[in-house]
């Protein structure tokens, strides 16, 4: 009974702090973390692409042959697709009201984003090994 007058949560619920959806602020927090990570990562990607502009495939292979470039590129891809997934999820939850259709759309979009993430990371690894 130590809670304030407005707090009706049990002691256990208050300690866990996960709220009624049992997820707490994790979705919100990871969206911010990936957003912050994407500030330097996406600017680095843009600068790299500008440097490669109109070049041969060999220039791209040479760029990704460095483990540093390939590593940062993979981080950029993972942060991008993770951030995109969290954002798209909120949009779907906002506009698709039918439970079954919402679940189906979420699963479809999640699968598609995971596929794109896996294919692009695999492509970077293959290009890195060619250099």
């Amino acid at each position: 009974m130590s809670q304030g007058s407005g707090d009706r949560r049990s002691e256990l619920g208050r300690v866990r702090g996960l709220g009624s959806a049992k997820e707490g602020v994790q979705h919100w927090w990871v969206q911010r973390l990936t957003a912050i990570a994407l500030v330097p990562l996406s600017l680095w990607f843009l600068a790299s692409v500008l440097a490669l502009l109109g070049g041969e495939r060999a220039a791209l292979v040479a760029w990704l042959s460095s483990p540093f470039s390939a590593g940062v590129m993979i981080l950029f891809l993972l942060a991008t697709f993770w951030h995109a997934l969290l954002g798209l999820q909120v949009v779907i939850e906002d506009y698709v009201h039918h439970e079954g259709r919402k679940l189906a759309t979420l699963l479809l979009v999640k699968g598609l984003v995971l596929l794109l993430a896996a294919a692009s990371v695999a492509a970077v690894v293959k290009l890195m090994l060619q250099g």
């Binding site: 996406s42 440097a51 109109g54 791209l60 954002g87 492509a123």
Partner: protein
């Protein structure tokens, strides 16, 4: 206001169309729209990378498309969406830290974000064309 009562007899908030358009509201919607556009735009990035991994012919056709009028139009839209979402995302992070909620500040930061996104987009394209020696 007779139309704004639900079936249980409770009043409903006015429909979105009733509100006067404001910059803060337009940017909020544009943030979501550019986010969706960027998510769809990752298809181009994945195509470009996987084409390079497949080899010379696939990469050449990807480069050809990206260099075409349609490709450049898509890339221009993508670059504006990118800079807008980046600048407005930073504005959101400042809000998350608890600053900038005053109406005047929110209005000013909206115009600042829009101007920054436009300038950065144009600067990037000028830089890109000059790097390719076409300016």
């Amino acid at each position: 206001m007779a139309g704004n009562i639900d079936r249980a007899g409770r009043p409903l908030s006015p429909h979105i169309q009733i509100y006067r358009w404001q910059w803060t509201m337009a940017l909020s919607i544009l943030h979501r729209a550019t986010g969706i556009a960027l998510a769809i735009g990752t298809l181009l990035l994945v195509w470009w990378l996987t084409a390079a991994a497949y080899g010379e012919p696939a990469f050449a056709s990807a480069q050809n498309f990206l260099g075409s009028i349609l490709g450049r139009l898509l890339l221009f839209g993508w670059s504006f969406a990118f800079f807008f979402h980046l600048c407005n995302g930073l504005r959101h992070l400042v809000w998350d830290a608890g600053h900038g909620f005053e109406l005047k500040t929110a209005h000013r930061s909206a115009l600042l974000v829009l101007a920054a996104a436009l300038v950065l987009t144009l600067a990037t394209w000028v830089l890109g064309y000059s790097l390719m020696g076409r300016l």
